[in-house]
Symmetry: C2
DNA sequence: GTCTATAATTTGATAGAC
DNA sequence: GTCTATCAAATTATAGAC
């Protein structure tokens, strides 16, 4: 069937493009390299995606749509905040470790083009999710379960502690004088460590 | 004097190259753009630095030599750990805010070329600094002033909480629904907030 | 839909005059 | 040391056969 073949090649190209773009960025990536990785001809990239820019945008959207739901998913559960934190740090560190190139890819592209998110993220991360977290925190503060902190700062803390040590692995292995395996073990330990750290920091 | 003129043009080129490379990366930067910014001819870049790669390396070394001493400086004081943390987070967030493009520049280049640090950083961040921090933490644990934590994890915590929210500003303004000014205010508040957060997390 | 061949442009680098 | 002019290579994009 023609339709299957179309989808197959198109998906093949996108997979190859993800790999190359996410590792080398927009400027560092070469269309020829993507074609080679996909095992097809360079002309096909233009047949399906018209230009390098359009292909890149498809990859970027795919990256955003992979990452954003993971954050929302856990915030939207009905657990106690402390359980949310434990769940999130564990799952998110595992997830980011598997896709360690994606956060940097997103951060970099956003610096090049700060507008690109406005057409992509708004639907995933809408007002209700933010408000829900703010309310939950407000109640816990009232009940004196946690210290008076802002939801924004806590959100930044959680994401920072999970993501930054993973994306800076090449730097941190040198600074901390660890080999790859030793550093991976440090990251594994963080799955539990970070949750305890945060909860100790905010609880009364 | 000829010598002055030499240094002047050379420095002019390096300044322009810092600006362009640190914002656009190795592949995104254009020699022509650097020449324009320096107000001189493109041929001059090659006269002083021979190739794009060599010019880039000069910029990278300059970035490392700007960042690394700041970390060592504060760790090497004789203050109590809690004061070190307060001092460091305050000064480091201020410093990184002023040079917000440099951390990402270093992280990205290290991913492209993980070997480059071995000839640059080793002298700045040597064994004695690491050992000193480890010892100090060991003593505080023994004295039951802080919970039993590893120096490596604490180091990662401190750097992550300071740097990540700054380099992800374009992403976080959208997620948290803040404008530039509001987000800068959040970062300013972190100068005190982060220290309290960390100390609460580790103290008995 | 897929391929080969090639056009069109960009860009790092150099030659050579002053 | 500095400039103009130009080369040579790389790279995106397209034309056209099958």
């Amino acid at each position: 069937m023609t339709k299957n073949k179309e989808n197959n090649t198109e998906a093949l190209i996108l997979d190859a493009a993800k790999d190359i773009f996410q590792h080398k960025g927009m400027e560092g990536a070469r269309m020829q390299e993507i074609a080679d990785k996909a095992g097809i001809n360079k002309a096909m990239l233009h047949y399906y995606y018209r230009s390098k820019q359009k292909l890149f945008e498809a990859v970027f959207k795919s990256a955003i749509n992979l990452m954003a739901p993971k954050v929302v998913e856990i915030i939207n559960t009905e657990e106690h905040l402390f359980d949310k934190i434990r769940n999130f740090t564990d799952k998110y560190i595992t997830f980011i470790s598997k896709h360690s190139y994606i956060p940097l890819f997103i951060i970099n592209e956003l610096r090049r083009n700060p507008e690109i998110l406005k057409t992509t993220l708004d639907h995933n991360f809408d007002v209700s999710v933010r408000d829900k977290l703010r309310e939950e925190i407000a109640i816990l503060i009232q009940n004196k379960e946690i210290k008076p902190i802002s939801a924004e700062q806590l959100f930044l803390d959680v994401i920072s502690l999970c993501v930054f040590p993973i994306i800076t692995k090449p730097l941190m292995t040198v600074i901390l004088d660890k080999n790859n395996k030793q550093y991976d073990e440090i990251i594994t330990q963080r799955k539990k460590y970070v949750a305890d750290f945060i909860i100790n920091a905010i609880k009364y």
